[in-house]
Symmetry: C2
Subunit: 557 residues, 2 copies
């Protein structure tokens, strides 16, 4: 059979987060495979209460592990590398990344107790990684973390450019600028058959702005503040940390970094050489002793994370520091949709303390890390791909990005997680629909999103919980009493007595008249008790709780 | 003791939603009271899973019910009238509202099975309601629902103007325009001692725009669409419904309203005369039979409500209607912070169906119902109050609004729920801090927010649940087996056996060696079992579940 080039997103296509993209080349069903990125996303109470991390289910790839050549990590953001440690043990193939990204990848693998002997640090183009039928090069470009890279994936069917996350920033402050000549050269060297391209900001109509444009506004901002200044941004945005810190120093303040992730990121950036200078920082104890107008805190928690420094500082004394009337707090960040509530909570907490809050809504104090609509068009023009595959976006982003390509006459397809495309011909063709899913890190265990565990938690949260315990004696007669324990249910309902007592008396009545056949049948008995419990609760308090029935059968001595 | 004028917000100050403001006049502690508005807000999974409605706890007012003269409802939005039915039975005083608002208030009371004999319909100024020491007039102004009114509350200590919710709209399409001369007259007639003022949009820097400005853009929009058009907005925004429907008719389409709340609102508006004309509408069956380009649906669910028409239509066939490639869906609304996730979910659902989605981000298809910063300043200038009390806002809104007043030399105070202000003097003075709280409607029962019920639900959602049942026999010896049922927990952990079985065997071991004193003591035994269960689960799956222990003691025959 003719060999073919396939593309199969397992995560990140039709959603923003947990990126995992498979490419394959070979005879159908026997393609050699590579995986690009292995990220996580974060749970929320609405859809995944109690879940620590969410990642794409690698089931398909595990089933085809003998065909998997390697994993490539484009950059160090959690949604691209965060699942590497947790899932590496299921894949166990070489992992390729550049130096800084590789350092972060190594941490992930070590934290998860995985061996790192197959982690390979790669120099950028022209270095080539040979992985089965694929020749892969890392191409520097700009993003909101240093060392983000596109991948050139050369295959017998043609050249693929997989952008990873990027923006067109010629002056990114830290890390390599976007170099249009380099991309021009790449397209000239060999025509680009496929461009798999970041779609995050396709709805942003204006050209993106450079990180360097923030230096002056941020300096002006810090200079204008009278008391303590606090700024928050993403820990991994090393360029922003530097711009903020430089502004603080220039305004005569000492810099204190709060948040483990932030200090770790700066250390990694310095050690790997991506950050060549960063002001000396002081600890929180020192910061607490300096005059307030001589200190600038740069802190984690721009998205309202519950345990991060921003939230902690908004609630009271934290590491010996306490915000006061006249202090200033800057969100040098954009609130990711869905995180509005906790961010607003921080703002109101700060307002109560008399702290002046500034956000980046007017655009002076934050720029995005993703290419906007005209920037995407510029990249289409630079690379002139035969086929455009929009990735890294929700469905509406992919659809809009595809329309953008179509308008220019580029063949495109919207492929969401599980959609396998054959990219060998002039237009992409859907050739398979692979079962995909999500894994949840829950405590220390990886569970399946569809296992029913999270569904049960949501049900308990919405409906409350009742346990009923009954005992069947040695003669197969139910003891007259039922025990009921409730949790998350109103204590008292219509009958004017405690709900649990009311349920017990209704169940006692049932046990008194229940027929012998039902008593002998665990399943029937369970169902009958559950039904009574739910119906009585509905009548009493207007809710049908989740019910667990425990039937204990006493053995004859 | 000298008489005084007091202000006490019980809800709506320091939050947006569940408005409930008390004014009092008389000797300290013996003031006669009135309540302005009695609203609800909606729960979310993060803070109130399973809760249907949230309202301010009226405990303080119930304790002082003999001093309460009346309730005044400024307008018919849920956050101003939604709790009237549920809490009326605790207050039982006359309720005053204008005609349309009163119709909505009556529905609330009837739904809750309350008598409506004390509901009084009031004409706008110059009609005066005498309520103890208060003379109250309803003053028409513009908002996103017809008949919104400010209250003039005349007291022996001076005139209070309580704005309710408003914007400065001279052409509101439906309902009365904002009339600056009327407010000028009010201030000239008697100096305004206190202005209690809506703060919602204090951070919006530009003057608000009129509802009438939407007519042309909406008509242009509908005309430009090729297939079915769907538009969503708040059901209570009768003016918007009319503008949308008129645009549809002018574009040669028939109008179909989907959503019970929307049809109810239009009916009430017509019956009470606030809406004098509305196009004929067709039912969903008829709409399904017409050519797609001859139909416009106006539907509920602009905030992503799970059961509303927008979500239903995005997910598939609904009432015989199904959206398709080429149809258009317009959000003629703003997403309230916190509702982004479900709204984005609708957008992606629609994208998957090939429906083009339009939102109001560029301002063409929606205007706010609240006064923006310059509008607030204009009202301060018109009324020239001695004291400004910012209300209807989160803490940061109140603080910003207070700063606005201070900059003009107006005395202000930030009073959040429970803060009692004495407004008798030239500046507001905090005189008491009253215990406030929230009530939750949970099924058919009102529970206290701090009762622990919701806390337990959140814990079950985050941590899962385990029930342990053990039996102590007639000789006070534990039976050797423990029964464990889990819900919302991983099925298997580190030990490689089912978690419940592993817990049972660990508990059996404990029961084997437990001392007689512990067995005799329910509390000790419960604690010991709970501790083992939590610790074993932690070791196995990295989570400490909520544990309920049921100890059954067999009586000697």
């Amino acid at each position: 059979m003719a060999e073919r080039l396939i593309y199969l997103p397992l995560g990140g296509a039709g959603e923003i987060g947990m990126n995992a993209y498979v490419y394959g080349y070979g005879e159908p069903g026997r393609e050699r495979l590579i995986l690009v990125d292995l990220g996580v996303t974060f749970g929320d109470m609405d859809s995944a209460p109690g879940i620590d991390l969410i990642m794409a289910d690698m089931g398909w790839l595990e089933d085809n592990r003998d065909r998997l050549e390697a994993i490539f990590i484009t950059h160090g953001h959690e949604d691209h590398v965060g699942a590497l440690g947790l899932l590496y043990g299921r894949l166990k193939v070489p992992v390729y990344a550049r130096r800084f990204t590789g350092t972060l990848a190594r941490m992930k693998m070590e934290e998860a107790g995985q061996p790192t002997d197959k982690l390979r640090i790669v120099a950028p183009r022209p270095e080539i990684v040979h992985a089965g039928p694929f020749d892969v090069q890392f191409v520097p470009l700009s993003h909101s973390i240093p060392e983000s890279s596109a991948l050139i994936i050369d295959t017998p069917a043609g050249r693929v450019v997989h952008t990873g996350d990027f923006k067109l920033d010629g002056t990114p402050v830290v890390g390599e600028p976007f170099d249009p000549m380099l991309f021009h050269e790449i397209a000239n060297e060999r025509p680009v058959k496929v461009l798999a391209c970041d779609s995050t900001n396709v709805f942003s109509p204006n050209p993106g702005r450079s990180e360097a444009m923030l230096a002056n506004p941020l300096l002006d901002f810090v200079v204008a503040q009278k008391q303590m200044v606090v700024a928050t941004t993403f820990a991994s945005n090393v360029a922003r940390l530097k711009t903020l810190a430089d502004a603080g120093i220039a305004a005569g303040r000492q810099i204190c970094l709060l948040g483990r992730a932030m200090r770790k990121m700066v250390t990694a950036a310095i050690e790997t050489g991506v950050l060549t200078s960063f002001p000396d920082v002081i600890g929180p104890e020192q910061a607490a002793e300096l005059p307030r107008n001589k200190v600038m805190l740069i802190v984690t928690g721009s998205q309202g994370e519950r345990r991060a420094a921003s939230m902690q500082l908004s609630m009271g004394r934290y590491l010996g520091l306490e915000l006061k009337e006249g202090d200033s707090f800057l969100f040098s960040s954009r609130t990711i949709p869905g995180n509005e509530r906790p961010v607003i909570r921080i703002m109101n907490n700060l307002s109560r303390r008399g702290v002046d809050v500034f956000d980046a809504d007017d655009g002076f104090y934050h720029v995005s890390g993703h290419a906007n609509r005209p920037d995407l068009q510029a990249v289409h023009d630079l690379l002139k791909p035969e086929i455009l595959i929009p990735m890294h976006g929700e469905h509406m982003h992919l659809r809009e990005h595809a329309a953008l390509g179509q308008a220019k006459g580029i063949a495109t397809a919207i492929a969401t997680n599980g959609t396998m495309l054959d990219l060998t011909g002039a237009t992409p063709r859907v050739v398979d629909d692979v079962a995909t899913g999500r894994l949840y890190l829950d405590g220390t265990v990886l569970i399946g999103a569809m296992d029913g565990i999270v569904r049960d938690r949501i049900r308990m949260a919405l409906n409350g919980h009742a346990t009923v315990s009954i005992i069947i004696d040695e003669n197969d007669e139910p003891l007259p009493d039922a025990w009921v324990e409730t949790m998350g249910l109103a204590q008292q309902g219509r009958a004017g007595v405690p709900l649990a007592r009311h349920l017990e008396s209704e169940l006692a009545e049932f046990l008194d008249r229940v027929d012998a056949r039902t008593v002998m049948d665990d399943k029937k008995l369970d169902e009958a008790i559950r039904k009574i419990t739910r119906n009585v609760a509905m009548e009493e308090i207007g809710k049908k709780p989740e019910v667990k029935v425990i039937i204990s059968r006493l053995a004859a001595d």
